[in-house]
Symmetry: none
DNA sequence: TATGAATGAGCGTTCATTCAT
DNA sequence: AATGAATGAACGCTCATTCAT
């Protein structure tokens, strides 16, 4: 993209490549909407091509199959997000977990549609991709922390998963609601991550009404 | 549907009723295995009936459609689990969150296969059922806590979701590993819920090596 | 212990097996017509199922794919033919080549439609099946002949192919014409096989008119 | 624009005509390889254009459709072969059947790839083109033979087919093996055409082992 | 009640053909 | 003339569901 643009105004090899790229982008965009709305399995190729305003056959000119566009969508999208996140993190002198978390949540908030696709996605394994990216980030912090007390180093992967579980709920929360936004959410999340949930929570007993309620159902 | 006609103390349902119940149970059991192994969408009715040792047509004598057996599976399973959990909770004089959590995790550990089905299940919405049960329990505690500081009462649903996120990760952790078991897991979970994650985590900066690594990929 | 065939006139396990067998036969019969008329590649499954008066899905209950029904058709058909031929040959005290040839040609004449399917069939390799059966029969005779002069034993496979070539033309001849029938055809074929083609054929020069004709075209 | 510049005596076709002819030749050559390797139906236009190193659209500048290039291939190829054969025949003072056969087999041996295409070709009818050319040649000889004893003139077309059947097997033999070459093959073929197959063949009975073998299968 | 053969709408996918550049 | 992105009809095939037995 940033390589030699010839002096001549004509660009490099737009032999129809521009059209092709445009169609591919249309397909990806259409696929994002369709996958988000209907999930991987219930989405059909022709829903996607209809939404993109192209013929069915065109789909296969750009993607090998349904799996491929899903992967491209998630991978491209997550790749871009990752790039953006890394760039922002690099801007900080000391990128601590709170900083990183704020950046991640801001990015995730803006791309909640992408996360919806990734997390509702079809094949089970793929659904864990988003989680695993988070896990890797947390693992970095855990591995470099001088002391994990009261946990041992062996617990770091599990801790990373629990941390990811909190973020994942923040993101899925945004599937239904826009509030609180990224920054307030980050504050909440950081609060519980650092100090735990309100202490009162652990003292009150479950009210007998809970059982009463249940009896009815 | 299964109303008790308790004329006679023990069994009273004559004819093929016992046989019918047996077939239904076979189908549910077969469905659990098949759904766990292949997911909702990729599972076929005949896989289930084959595994159950009955004819395809028999399936429709017991369940209206594929969705119905999935729901029945999750609902029956979760219902039974819920019953067991409630019973255990009731045995406690003061069922506080730590107590409840231990009970829940113990039950979930034993029924991890059921959770796998519920959480990997096909139709997106259904995947949240398991989450929502947890959310409801946490909401109970949150609603009865005298003070949520530093959060407000308005945050209680969000907090419930974040708590559920942690539990959900414990359960999915067990999809791949059996260790730590339910009790140790409960201790870990309670620790982070009450006191937060290790403080050191929030001070260390992300090492530059993180970016270096990324550049390669 | 052999399964008990009840005294009762009812046959073994006609649980719907009769219906099934009937449908399969219908499909095979329909496929024979369709393949004969349109060739393997141009035949479609729904042409076959329409002709058989069943639904498309039914096809796949009986055959794994298009290849499978073609093979079944040719193999079943050829197998039956082979059985019939062997039975007839066995009836002879001394089944010499002339005898065998007559039997083969009679069978082929009656089943010319089957040969049309086999020989026009789609995948190239399969087209040679019919030829190879003939080759094997001829190879038997060649291998047991005391003397192949003026040929050597090494030539026996080639000779078998040349013999088969003659038979194959007899059979394809019948794709367009019914005359001469099997017996007269056998006489002709045996005549050229035993004594060669009319001697005069090898003396006359090609008339100049041949070239003249060609110039026009 | 400089039209017909016939400076050089040979070339007369100006502008892109040479280029055009070259592209057409490339397509034909590519098509021969592709058709030979994959058969008519399984060959795709883009395989051909890829192999020819031109764009798909270019194909339709030169041939009306897939059938057209197949026909052109077989017709051009066979036409060229025919020309070569005729030229060689004309060189003989008395081109008798043995002479003609040798010429034909030599040509066929060299062009076995073309025959593979023609004989494995897609649409059934076209597969008989090669055969029919042979039949026409033999018909010439048969029509000019003074005496067809023990056959009648009415049998001449059938005899031509039987003769063609032998040649066809020689050619298909070469699809798998290169030996014997054209000249030795011609000798063998002429031997059986003139004198028939080894006499011993018609006396030996089919050995009982033949049946035994069959029983196993 | 249980069966499993039959169904057919609907899917993913291919590829000969067109046409704007 | 040459290109190759785009097209869409048509195919093979699957599988949830029905129904005669």
């Amino acid at each position: 993209m940033e390589r030699d643009e010839q002096q001549s105004p004509a660009v490099k090899l737009p032999r129809g490549a521009k059209r092709r790229a445009r169609t591919r982008a249309d397909l990806l965009s259409a696929a994002r909407n369709v996958f988000a709305a209907r999930g991987f399995h219930d989405a059909t190729i022709s829903e996607i091509t209809d939404a993109a305003g192209v013929g069915v056959g065109t789909f296969y000119l750009h993607f090998h199959d349904k799996d491929a566009i899903f992967s491209a969508l998630v991978e491209d999208g997550m790749g871009a997000l990752r790039g953006r996140i890394l760039a922002e993190i690099r801007a900080h002198a000391r990128p601590t977990l709170p900083v990183v978390l704020r950046v991640i949540l801001r990015a995730a908030y803006e791309q909640r549609e992408l996360f919806r696709v990734a997390l509702m996605g079809g094949i089970a394994n793929r659904r864990f991709q988003a989680r695993d990216v988070l896990v890797q980030v947390f693992a970095q912090f855990l591995d470099h922390a001088p002391d994990l007390a009261p946990f041992s180093a062996d617990d770091s992967l599990l801790l990373a998963r629990l941390l990811a579980g909190i973020i994942l709920q923040s993101v899925t929360w945004w599937f239904e609601q826009d509030e609180p936004g990224a920054d307030l959410m980050a504050e909440h999340v950081l609060s519980v991550m650092q100090h735990g949930f309100p202490a009162a929570l652990f003292d009150v007993p479950l009210p007998p009404s809970f059982f009463a309620l249940d009896e009815l159902a």
